[in-house]
């Protein structure tokens, strides 16, 4: 069902854990399946993400996208991190099954939520960053099955 990369990131997730006194913490939930993701960011004075950790309550795809997303943002500038889309995360994982696409949105949103928290704490305005939604709703509606 999952690619080798997904399985790798699922079974050996990178950056699991918490950061004490993180620069930004974002928690998002997914109304569709009830799963939850939390991202911790440690951002230095130059706006570089030095460290990142996550915790996820969710399926294999949710865990793997969390793990991959943390890898992708680590060492990046805030502005660059903002540009990382769920699609980029999925591509880096060699794709996800169609029913699992929404799980990757969770990762994107969690990063945005953590960045928002960082911006709020430091009274910053980050270009292009919107207030995070508390619930991630699926964007591409699946074909509604009729009975």
């Amino acid at each position: 069902m999952y690619s080798e990369k997904v399985m790798d990131h699922f079974t050996n997730p990178r950056n699991v854990g918490e950061i004490e006194n993180a620069s930004g913490v974002g928690t998002v939930g997914n109304a569709k399946c009830g799963d939850i993701m939390r991202i911790f960011l440690d951002i230095d004075d130059n706006g570089i993400i030095n460290d990142v950790k996550f915790k996820t309550f969710g399926c294999g795809a949710a865990v793997a996208t969390s793990s991959m997303a943390t890898e992708l943002v680590k060492g990046k500038k805030v502005e660059e991190a903002l540009k990382i889309t769920n699609k980029a995360v999925m591509d880096a994982l060699d794709g996800l099954p169609p029913v699992k696409v929404h799980c990757s949105l969770l990762a994107e949103e969690a990063i945005h939520a953590a960045l928002w928290d960082y911006a709020e704490k430091n009274n910053l305005k980050i270009e292009g960053l919107k207030k995070p939604k508390s619930d991630i709703n699926e964007e591409e509606e699946e074909i509604k099955e009729e009975y």
Binding site: Y2, M7, F10, T11, P13, V16, E18, T27, K32, C33, G34, D35, I36, M37, R38, K55, T56, F57, G58, C59, G60, A62, V63, V99, Y147
Partner: protein, 393 residues
């Protein structure tokens, strides 16, 4: 462990070698169409008759009351739709439970779109039907009560005898989806006042793609699949002779081994349940502690999610499921777990392990060890567990 430990026997079972053996001649040699007139085909007619008799006997029914179908879902659809059609003059109300299989629930939804009214009776925290609610739901227009014999997810056995009596007293037909219960529990259609009963071959080490519907003599029948005169003109389609023969064989074996097999399963099941509950904290057993299918266990592990658990168990060669096999592709938490009152996030962390009599205690020990390790690992990654621990400290 190198060997796969298959603990998903509620989803499907291995076809027994003896069953395959019994089927084989009917593919390549005795392949004739039982409806044909020549001698070569009449042996197949007899083979079908024999299987029908074995099955009838297993339920205390008559052979003429057994109709072969393409599986449990077809049987369920047939029972409900045919009754709706045949008795619509009498009324348009059907009663079922909130925890039925989708083959019943989605058929009810279909009937609701077509002028029928359906009451979905609730269950208590153990998944047992609320008989008071059932009684209160009865109307003069009620034509059918359909309640499953035992639940496929949490294993709870329903008070079928009581339901049968209520149905009879009120002159309402009673159908039961016994897909999980048949050959796991003792069933006599007369003692239990059952008018219709669905079953499926592949749940009892028989072949897939075959099932039956028991229809008590006197019940008005309409066809679901119209066409040729097979199954006394009630269910069209060239008889699936190899599968029917295999099904008969599977029932024969299941009858012979009944007592020993189910006793052994109950012992193994209890061992598994006791160890898991004792050794994994924040865990609950779903379904009734004793009124449950011999081979069913179903747990909820707080703070974790079922799919992750399943995949990690799979990597340890353990096959389990998290909700009905039919819905594990879906993203909704199981309607059964919600109906017994579990909150969404607890329903998420469910694991169903359904065993068979060939599982050993050693294998279950290996399972428990791995469940413990994996649950620990997933909890260490879980934001819900983090919140909980911070909350209680």
């Amino acid at each position: 462990m190198d060997k796969k430990i298959y603990l998903d026997n509620a989803a499907t079972t291995a076809t027994r070698p003896e069953v395959v053996e019994a089927m084989l001649p009917y593919f390549t040699e005795k392949f004739g169409n039982p409806s044909s007139i020549y001698e070569f085909a009449s042996q197949n007619k007899k083979a079908v008759t024999d299987a029908r008799e074995i099955i009838a006997k297993s339920l205390g029914a008559n052979a003429a009351e057994i109709y072969f179908t393409g599986g449990g879902s077809e049987s369920d659809n047939w029972a409900l739709k045919a009754t709706a059609e045949a008795y619509k003059e009498k009324g348009n109300h059907i009663i079922t439970s909130k925890i039925e299989h989708h083959a019943i629930l989605h058929t009810c939804e279909y009937l609701e779109k077509n002028g029928f009214e359906v009451t979905y009776v609730g269950v208590d925290e153990n998944g047992v039907l609320k008989l008071d609610e059932l009684k209160a739901a009865i109307r003069p227009t009620t034509i059918l009560i359909s309640v499953m014999f035992a639940n496929n997810e949490i294993g709870t056995i329903q008070p079928i005898k009581e339901i049968g009596e209520i149905a009879k007293q009120n002159n309402i037909l009673f159908h039961t989806d016994a897909v999980q219960a048949y050959m796991q529990l003792d069933i006599n259609v007369d003692d239990l006042n059952i008018d219709m009963l669905s079953a499926s071959g592949h749940k009892i080490n028989g072949p897939k793609g075959i099932g039956f519907l028991y229809i008590r003599k006197g019940v008005k029948i309409r066809s679901l699949i119209h066409g040729g005169a097979q199954e006394r003109s009630r269910r069209a389609g060239t008889e699936n002779v190899p599968a029917i023969v295999g099904y008969g064989k599977a029932v024969e074996i299941a009858m012979d081994t009944f007592k020993e097999r189910t006793e052994k399963e109950i012992e193994l099941r209890n061992y598994l349940i006791e160890r898991v509950l004792a050794e994994v904290p924040y865990t609950r057993l779903n379904g009734h502690r004793t009124k449950r299918l011999p081979n069913n266990s179903n747990f909820s592990f707080q703070f974790i999610e079922g799919e992750s658990l399943l995949i990690m168990l799979d990597m340890k060669n353990i096959c389990g499921s998290s909700g009905s096999a039919c819905t594990s592709g879906s993203l909704d938490p199981s309607h059964v777990l919600l109906a017994i009152g579990l909150p969404h996030e607890i329903a998420h962390g469910s694991l169903r392990l359904t065993l068979n009599e060939d599982i050993t205690k050693e294998e279950l020990d290996y399972v428990v060890t791995n469940v413990k390790e994996i649950v620990d690992k997933l909890r260490s990654m879980s934001p819900l567990y983090e919140d909980y621990v911070k909350g209680i400290n």
